[in-house]
């Protein structure tokens, strides 16, 4: 072994010693979040911002499904659990929960499509290929291009659960990855139908992309309707803990619910629960 090997060895030893020193000197520098893979990317981004604001703190995000979020929280294996749905009454009795964002998905079609709303049954029929032509729904003649999401995506899960479908039953013509690809596919195909996060679709429409959001059973697909809870195809993204969370976790919850976090939430195509911002808007005309 030459000088290079020795240097590397020394550096390695130094690093490991430094690592030991770190964990021994401060106890609360690491925040562990486990659970839903839907919440994880958001928690990760929030974590980065939180780390930047609190030097020395490290936020560790691990996925494994909402059920892991609960299980780890009750065994004390995490500081906060991540759960991508509303809690049941039993769960509410056992855990404390904090909503950090809402996720809503809506059906989109091309701007030239004359339809403005579809019922749940109609959507189900389209995705099972029982309805195969827009004419049957009162639109122009044309074979429907069914756009579905790739396996493992949270939007797919929510869609399947709401319409009570199995992914294997869906007769898709196109399978997409992220929301952007779905929006581009629909924008380029007047016969296509897809479902994407409402936040992403609204941003694209604002930029002039030729798509439109369909109302579901008459309820307009808007971020407003997700906030006030009237839009059916939505869910709350929560952080949970059993008993009171530790101070660092409390600090993180406060940060995740603060207006500072809204931009991060919107960048992830979720809807922020900006009750304060909404209030400010209501007050504005009176002043």
């Amino acid at each position: 072994m030459g000088w290079l090997g020795k240097t590397l060895l020394m550096a390695g030893l130094g690093l490991s010693l430094w690592g030991c020193g770190q964990s021994a000197s401060e106890q609360q520098t690491k925040l562990v979040l486990t659970g839903s893979s839907t919440v994880a990317p958001l928690a990760n981004e929030l974590g980065k911002k939180f780390e930047a604001q609190n030097p020395g703190v490290r936020v560790d995000v691990q996925t494994g499904g909402s059920s892991r979020g609960f299980a780890d929280a009750s065994q004390g294996l995490n500081d906060l659990g991540m759960v991508s749905r509303d809690l049941t009454d039993d769960e509410k009795a056992e855990f404390q929960d904090w909503a950090i964002a809402k996720d809503g998905i809506a059906i989109i079609v091309h701007q030239d499509n004359p339809l403005t709303t579809l019922s749940d049954n109609e959507v189900t029929a389209i995705y099972l290929d029982k309805t195969n032509d827009w004419q049957a729904l009162g639109g122009d003649t044309g074979q429907i291009t069914v756009v579905n999401k790739a396996e493992g995506r949270s939007t797919l899960e929510l869609f399947l659960k709401y319409f009570d479908l199995e992914n294997g039953e869906i007769q898709a013509d196109v399978v997409i990855g992220d929301n952007q690809q779905g929006i581009k596919t629909v924008a380029g195909n007047p016969q296509a139908i897809a479902y994407v996060s409402i936040g992403a679709a609204e941003q694209e429409i604002a930029q002039g992309t030729p798509i439109k959001l369909l109302a579901m059973d008459g309820v307009e697909a808007t971020t407003e309707n997700i906030k006030n809870g009237t839009f059916p195809l939505s869910r709350t993204l929560n952080l949970v803990s059993q008993g009171a969370p530790n101070p660092l976790a409390q600090q993180f919850i406060q940060f995740a619910q603060s207006p500072e976090a809204y931009a991060v939430v919107e960048a992830q195509s979720f809807v922020p629960l900006d009750s304060q911002k909404a209030k400010a808007k209501d007050l504005a005309p009176q002043s």
Binding site: T145, E151, G168, V175, G177, K184, T185, N189
Partner: protein
Amino acid sequence: MHLNPDLILLWLVRGLGTISAILVLLILLFLFKEAFPVLREVGIGAFFFDAVWQPTKGKFNLLPMILGTLWTTLGAMILATPLGILSAIFCQFYAPDFLAKLYRRLLELLAGIPSVVYGFWGLLVLVPMINRIQPPGASVLAGILILTLMILPTIALIADASFAKVPTSYLTGSQALGISQWGMVWGVAVPAAKSGLMTAGILATGRALGETMAVLMVCGNVVKTPTGLFDPVRTLTANIALEMAYALGDHRSALFVSGLMLMVVVIGLIAVAEWVVAEGKNYG
């Protein structure tokens, strides 16, 4: 202290060579390691004989995607090889000098366009166009056309370079014998440039097999063995890119098997190409 520069160079080259070799082996090892859990659990057969690809439900049939990869690549090669070689011949033997130069620059530009740009163009222009002929538009055909565009410059540029390397004496000699221009190109230049043309083919096939973003955007990605040019298809690469971000456990592991399959296809391809070149040398 005496240092022999040759010796330094020798060990430097040996060292760097070893690093490249080790990198390839490490990648293979990593693929195996990540793929191993699911291979041990369900066996390799599941990836060919399961009914469908539903990794979250423990069904792992990769066959439609292996076929998808092979079909799109094969289609693109069938279109791009003659186009590429003929444009190289045009450039080298027929075009006036200024035109040949301009043409080469254009091909280089085509080769330099990032794949995601091809993908966007395909999604916004090509797919809607095919959709008007037969919905849904995102199809094997779209994939083949995009891949053809992407590998065409690779083939044309390498073929052009290998034609340029054909010794002038061969060409002047054949002209002296009174062979027609085409006879010279086909009978002398093409056989003389054969190994370069093979290299062009191998590199282009490799690029077509490994292309991910553009194919993912235009192919439709439905996991079903396509029965025609207008059916949507999912390739092995698109499968990994689509599902990796949210995959856990066996699902994730199965995606590494996709990667392994892709490696197997590529290794098989290189072996066949080596064999063809070796055969050519025996009889050529």
